[in-house]
Symmetry: C2
């Protein structure tokens, strides 16, 4: 039986609304997963994340492996106990970060840009069938991660949803490289499932990951391969092209192959407002992305302005004397408290923690409302209209969380 | 009539409990004033500060003058509106920071250490009767601050309690220098009062500041001089010696001179747990100090341990695997949420904002409970016993805020 209970399907698209049942509570879908990369949503306490209406957060296997180490987290009783988050947790496999050390940055990967060389503090020593040897970006120590290591770490973390170890092939990889890498990812998938069947926590759901770059035949093959396995959920990963239309096309290939498969679907690393709307329309259930939290820490607020890609950089001079809130009629705790653009600009420019925190809160509140709006629209057969309105710059409705 | 309504006096000491009436609500005394130096209590939102039980915060005239500038804050309707804090605000005069550029750091000043040379990004160009010319630590621009400037800035900020412009003489100043400086501070006091009478906001209370270093005759003269003026409140400033017993002695000289004067008394820059207990015992009504917030940002928790000066550095290796809370039975939001020393240690060591925030919350909650405990003790004629118990390591009682 699928962990996802589909409550309603949109009659005009593959969009669906449901409840993902986990060992740590229900996750309303479609839903967004804020990043708690290093066992904390940056700047926020668990009670803040809960109050914003989130059911689930994402911890990062690679980073937690290097610090503080999964053994220490296990000593505390797992990641839920360690960070005192009693909702659901998904952990990614670490493959993405491991390979990013060779390929480029996280954003580069997904968005199809050439590797920039930044954020490459660690270094890959060897990629082999067994797994990857690399140097830790923290202390330079030699480390190894393979399918079994990844599952073992995730078992120690005790997450509710584990992702299998994969290679996220870069956009600039050749078709030949992508094909060989995708095949290896499928072999790694089998090794992950074998390890988990023997040793994994019973409560932990395992998601396979579809790769295949931007090549339709590879994507189709990969989707079929993942579907054929006894995975609990299906994640779409890898390079999704170098522009949004290509991303939607690639995701569309995969969700078309998945068809009516009842298992939960997660789209990795995607979270712009228009991407979330389109992703739901394509039949995705959950999304994770650094966008709302990372932008928040840089003083960029999420606002209903499609022309500006739903972004407003409040550090600009034009906001210096602005007594406006980040967004009119916004029910988030920051706008409700009357915080002005001018005040937040001042705080962010002076690197005041409270400023970074408040823009993050606003952004996560916006995305929570957006997902609740989309979910309600599916449930009430108004998805087409709401998706169009939200895409055109309508503010997400309040009160649906 | 004094803004301070004294509700009860301890029969065995000059300690007193009351309510300080301000234009932005009542401040329960004895009470602690958290620093909102740059228009924010670092890492916290106003709602957090309120939830911890605080009635008042302190904004810094010097820092706000340099950035974002009092004109900008006035544009927003004053400091309360700018930072969205609807409780009381006290602003210090800026004199302390201006002179610290010449004398050494803030902590050096009060604690009697020799200037270390750190934190001296700005530079004094000239000290004259008129005021002080200096270079901004932000952009190197030449600035001027004198008594009228300070009062004008504080008027623009619209604080409920303003402090007059003074020189905080360093511990290592000669008696001759201290005497001349103290006399000038008294002349500046008159100029501040004259400016305020003509131009100050009606709701704003003005506190004079007693100086005189560690010289009894100068302290007595200064206390008499300040008392003789029509000030609304009296602050004790300046060097208080190089060890705690000397500090208590100097403060004791001043409160003895003040006697039964009904006006509110503020002790500037003091906030260690034992100092707060002793300060209340000496008849002080309010205190401000960077201690709880600054220590919090460095991972040092306030705990009931007199031998360790009420400090516990959680960054130490011995806390790595600790599943204990910062403090047993602590009702603060962080300990209540079950946060462990091990988790907080990890967060603080990795400079995670949430970790700095949570230790700050714990510390401010501790100090709020301490002050509420002391206040209740005065009101119930149990001050001598409670002061002794708290000094010996008793945890402040909960539920009194």
């Amino acid at each position: 039986m699928s962990a996802l209970e589909i409550l309603h399907r949109d009659p005009n698209s593959p969009a669906r609304a449901g409840v993902l049942h986990t060992a740590h509570g229900d996750v309303r879908t479609p839903g967004f997963v804020p990043l708690a990369t290093k066992a904390t949503v940056k700047g926020l306490e668990p009670r803040d994340v809960k109050a914003l209406g989130y059911d689930i957060v994402l911890g990062n296997t690679f980073h937690l492996f290097l610090a503080p180490g999964h053994e220490l987290i296990k000593h505390f009783g797992g990641l839920h106990e360690f960070m005192r988050w009693d909702g659901a947790i998904v952990t990614d496999s670490g493959g993405f970060q491991v390979f990013s050390m060779g390929h480029g940055t996280v954003a580069d990967e997904i968005k199809g840009r050439a590797p920039s060389g930044t954020e490459r503090a660690g270094r890959i020593l060897e990629i082999a069938e067994e797994g990857v040897r690399f140097r830790s970006y923290i202390d330079g120590a030699e480390k190894f991660m393979g399918p079994e290591t990844s599952m073992e770490i995730q078992a120690a973390l005790g997450s509710d949803l584990a992702l299998v170890f994969d290679e996220c092939t870069p956009f600039h990889a050749t078709k030949d490289y992508t094909a060989r890498s995708t095949e290896r990812t499928h072999r790694w998938l089998d090794r992950c499932l074998t390890w988990h069947a023997a040793n994994g926590p019973e409560h932990q759901l395992v998601y396979g990951i579809i790769q295949g770059g931007t090549y339709r035949d590879l994507r189709d093959e990969s989707a079929e391969a993942v579907m054929a396995r006894g995975v609990d959920g299906i994640a779409i990963g890898g390079s999704l092209g170098d522009h949004k239309e290509q991303m939607y096309e690639v995701v569309g290939w995969n969700t078309a192959t998945l068809g009516d498969d009842p298992r939960p679907r997660h789209l990795l690393g995607i979270g712009d407002v228009d991407d979330l709307i389109r992703g739901v329309e394509l039949g995705i259930d959950t999304f994770d992305c650094a966008m709302p939290t990372r932008l928040g820490r840089h003083g960029v607020a999420v606002v209903p302005d499609p022309e500006k890609r739903w972004r407003m950089d409040i550090t600009g001079k034009r906001h210096e004397r602005s007594e406006e809130p980040l967004m009119e009629d916004c029910p988030c705790p920051v706008c409700e408290a009357g915080m002005t653009r001018g005040y937040l600009r001042y705080l962010v420019r002076h690197k005041e923690l409270s400023g970074l925190r408040m823009v993050t809160l606003h952004n996560l509140a916006y995305i929570a409302r957006l997902m609740a709006d989309l979910r309600d629209a599916v449930l009430t057969d108004t998805f087409t209209e709401r998706a169009a309105a939200l895409r055109a710059g309508d503010a997400p409705r309040a009160g649906l969380l």
